[in-house]
């Protein structure tokens, strides 16, 4: 008990400073009472922690029981959708090479970054596994119909996907022009070809373990509201699908999930005045991405290392509190999926403004994809607007939506972590005690997330 008190004292000393340090600061965002909003959000998360600790027995697990709906039809292999996506992607890549080089008009960056990275990921994480049908590899692979000549080396685990994820993140965050159509076309074409080669050589295990986008999409589908349960379509609280899986992810996949959050977090940090001050840049006179390539890569690496280390330390601290002899590695792996909803919350919060603006460019492109004058969506002559960033009322709605996503992500994370801990420890009390350091970490991460949203930005 003394250990618990010491830990709580130590952490509580850190919280108020962190909560208030950047309470009221960004144009209209800087004028909003974000400190107050953030306090409300943090309170919700803290209350969740307390509630979960006090809930009798395994009631919190009941939250993740899905509601069965109608009987599900057997899965069909819809390879033609994947082929269609491949055809669209190939067309977009060619447009990337030969089309207009303005990333707000060229189909390739709009499809890849806005349509894929932002929108498709959200659909996957909220509605269910669309990637299974939409990925641009399996359709062609099935059509080729050849058995894989090689066996995927088990020792590789998910580590090739970890490398892939880091490479994608490095490109997105540090490359001087990740949206430049010609440049992106090469990256997409080479990435597609490399993964297609892997798939042909090793079969599906390659996609499931070595291809970063598939690994990420499959991780996020664990959060979708819709799914299958016992032969029926089912709907449930975000996270129910992941909670239905009994086995912890292997080490590579666990690290992959942690890196998803680390990358998403750094993607917000690198825009703040705070970060600009760290790297000695004037945010009001930012000289462009070419001046900060190494700083961005360094920050990204640091964020990844830091998050993995802190998560491992909090889990170990929980075991230390209980003087448990459980193997820490297994416990860490088991608890890692609870990070997923936080990563999704950050994704939604960070990309909501992007979605609101780039989504319009995407819609205008889809309205007349070949520039032949067709008016598929009735948007001919429309102009992209950013008027919603110009009024306090709309900025407030956007900010609260972002903050809501961050807070909701943390609430689900705490519920999931508690449910997962119940699988490890014989009594709910022990499970709750083991969760104290992780819960503190999540409260602090909520504060960090809301601080990020409220911070003034340079880009």
């Amino acid at each position: 008990m003394r250990r618990i008190c010491a830990l709580i004292l130590l952490i509580s000393a850190l919280i108020p400073g962190a909560a208030l340090a950047h309470a009221s600061e960004g144009g209209f965002v800087l004028l909003l009472p974000t400190g107050l909003y953030a306090a409300g959000g943090v309170t919700v998360v803290v209350l969740t922690v307390l509630l979960v600790a006090l809930l009798p027995g395994r009631q919190s697990l009941a939250l993740f029981r899905p509601l069965p709906l109608w009987r599900a039809a057997p899965r069909v292999r819809a390879g033609w959708i994947s082929l269609l996506v491949l055809a669209i992607l190939a067309w977009a890549v060619i447009q990337g090479w030969v089309g207009e080089q303005d990333p707000t008009h060229n189909p390739l960056p709009l499809i890849v970054w806005t349509g894929g990275w932002v929108i498709l990921l959200l659909i996957q994480a909220i509605l269910g596994d669309v990637w299974r049908a939409l990925n641009p590899w399996t359709g062609l692979w099935w059509r080729l119909g050849r058995p894989a000549p090689l066996r995927y080396p088990a020792a590789l685990g998910h580590w090739p996907a970890v490398v892939g994820l880091l490479a994608l993140a490095g490109f997105l965050l540090a490359d001087i022009a990740p949206a430049a159509p010609g440049r992106l076309a090469w990256v997409v074409a080479l990435y597609w070809a490399l993964q297609m080669l892997g798939l042909c050589l090793f079969g599906l295990p390659w996609l499931l373990r070595a291809e970063a986008i598939t690994v990420m999409m499959r991780a996020y589908v664990g959060l979708s509201l819709l799914g299958r349960s016992r032969g029926r379509r089912a709907i449930g609280l975000s996270g129910w699908r992941r909670m239905a899986q009994q086995t912890p992810p292997p080490a590579g996949q666990a690290v992959f999930i942690l890196l998803m959050l680390a990358i998403g977090s750094f993607d917000g940090v690198n825009e703040t005045f705070w970060w600009f001050a760290r790297i000695g840049m004037n945010p009001l006179e930012f000289t462009g991405r070419s001046a900060v390539v190494w700083q961005s890569l360094g920050g990204l690496a640091l964020a990844c290392l830091l998050l993995v280390a802190v998560f491992a330390a909090t889990t170990r601290a929980g075991l230390w509190l209980l003087q448990s002899t459980l193997p820490p590695g297994r416990v860490i792996r088991l608890l890692v999926p609870s990070i997923l909803p936080i990563a999704l919350g950050y994704h939604l919060a960070h990309y909501l403004p992007v979605l609101l603006v780039e989504g319009q460019y995407l819609a205008l492109m889809l309205n007349d994809p070949m520039e032949t004058g067709v008016n598929l969506l009735g948007l001919a002559g429309a102009h992209v607007t950013t008027g919603f960033f110009n009024t306090q009322a709309t900025v407030r709605v956007i900010w609260l939506t972002q903050a809501g996503a961050v807070v909701f992500g943390h609430v689900i994370a705490i519920l999931m972590a508690h449910g997962l801990a119940l699988r490890l420890f014989e009594t709910p009390r022990k499970a709750a005690l083991s969760q104290i350091p992780l819960a503190i970490f999540m409260v602090l991460y909520t504060i960090f997330g809301l601080w990020l949203l409220a911070s003034p930005r340079g880009v």
């Binding site: 080089q101 006179e285 004058g373």
Partner: protein, 430 residues
């Protein structure tokens, strides 16, 4: 998004002919014979160096809209030398290194005749040396003093927008005669702020005024209350040029500090470009004065050619998009794209421009320009081009906030904006 059918969205190659059909057929039938010739000729390719991403993206969006409108208008009137204009847009990421790469693509890959468009000074300064190496005429719409200061080269010209030095110095006569002689300046502590500090303090001195205090604020500052006590009590005019996300906080805190007993306030609209003046928190600015490159709000005496320009770009009486009243334009700067494209057209026509071998002749034709009369080609006002310094000079507007709108109170004459030449580019070799 709402629908609008009267403004062409894009003027890329594939839409050039569509635009021609839509605008031309409706408006100017007698010119059909010229279109026929135009359609058979190679287009004039103008490389548009756009801030599509990066810190300048908000300006880039409106620069594009104005540019598209100008190209559509020029094409509807028969193009340049009877040839259609085709825009080749590249994103410079508001990054000097990419800016230079973009110029190279314009010259070597997309076979552009000229390059055009950049706003941010560091991109212009990073790109201009490459323009000289490539011998590519580079028309910037940057407002910076870097062109006239002599640090660039013969291939870089700024004929469509005035520079910050002339803007700032032209404010001093009005400020000293109308608002007060004792001025305190508050500005961000980097190059943008220093331009104001140095040029305005010198101009005030010349007017017999006095700058009591110069308060530099670090660019990452988000609260300003600790700087306000440094404002001397006998200040008659507070000159402010804060920029960045904390501007609204700056205004709010300034209001809280002074209450109703404020000195006269004079600012540059750069602080609030694309921000609705009727936003909550900006009430304190009621009655204060701003420099405007071009009036954002439709004025009672607005000439017809300005109305035509505004309609073509698609902005309403408040300077906001006709598609969304909350989408306020960058009115004080974007006219520069429209005017520059008209200068390119005039230069190409004067020099009989046919292709890249005539690029030098084009620069010489622009250098030979002098008086540019106000009208649809120069809606911001009549201008005077200085061929030696490659910089244009024009009227400057001083507006007062009345009922949340900017009302023009004074138009500084071109003579107030002139200063001694700091370079003679015409003496440099090509």
């Amino acid at each position: 998004m709402t629908k609008s059918t009267d403004h062409p969205v894009s003027t890329s190659r594939r839409t050039a002919l569509k635009t021609l059909g839509a605008v031309g057929a409706a408006a100017t039938l007698p010119l059909w014979s010229r279109y026929a010739q135009a359609q058979t000729s190679e287009p004039i390719r103008i490389g548009f160096q756009k801030h599509a991403t990066g810190i300048g993206a908000a300006y880039g969006r409106w620069y594009e809209r104005t540019t598209d409108a100008a190209v559509a208008k020029i094409n509807a009137e028969g193009g340049i030398n009877g040839r259609m204009v085709e825009l080749v847009t590249e994103d410079d990421g508001t990054d000097p290194k990419r800016g230079a790469e973009v110029l190279e693509k314009f010259a070597n890959q997309s076979k552009c005749d000229v390059a055009f468009g950049t706003l941010y000074s560091h991109v212009v300064i990073g790109s201009a040396p490459r323009a000289a190496e490539l011998k590519l005429p580079y028309f910037v719409v940057s407002e910076g003093h870097h062109v006239a200061s002599g640090i660039l080269n013969r291939w870089t010209v700024q004929p469509g927008i005035t520079d910050v030095k002339s803007q700032v110095q032209a404010m001093a006569p009005f400020v000293s005669k109308t608002l007060g002689k004792k001025v305190t300046m508050i500005y961000p502590d980097f190059a943008f702020g220093y331009d104001h500090r140095d040029n305005f303090s010198a101009a005030m001195k010349a007017q017999g005024g006095e700058v009591l205090e110069m308060i530099a604020v670090p660019p990452t500052e988000t609260s300003f209350t600790k700087y306000f006590p440094k404002i001397p009590r006998d200040t008659e005019v507070l000159y402010h040029v804060m920029v960045g996300p904390a501007v609204l906080t700056f205004v709010k805190e300034l209001g809280e500090f002074f209450g109703p007993n404020r000195p006269e306030l004079f600012g540059f609209i750069d602080s609030l470009e694309a921000v609705d003046m009727a936003s909550p928190g900006l009430e304190f600015l009621e009655g204060t004065y701003f420099w405007e490159g071009m009036p954002r709000y439709l004025q009672p005496d607005t000439p017809d050619y300005v109305k035509t320009y505004r309609d073509a770009v698609g902005i309403d009486a408040n300077g906001a998009s006709v598609n969304d009243a909350k989408d306020v334009s960058t009115a004080a700067h974007m006219f520069g794209c429209w005017e520059t494209l008209h200068v390119i057209k005039a230069g190409m026509e004067a020099s009989g421009y046919v292709g890249p071998k005539d690029r030098q002749k084009l620069i010489e034709a622009v250098e030979a320009m002098s008086v540019m009369p106000a009208g649809l080609a120069h809606p911001q006002g009549g201008k005077l081009f200085n061929g030696k310094t490659h910089q244009v000079f024009g009227p400057q507007y001083i507006s007062q906030v009345e009922n949340g709108k900017l009302v023009v109170k004074h138009t500084a004459a071109i003579t107030d904006t002139l200063y001694a030449d700091e370079v003679d580019y015409t003496a440099q070799s090509f």
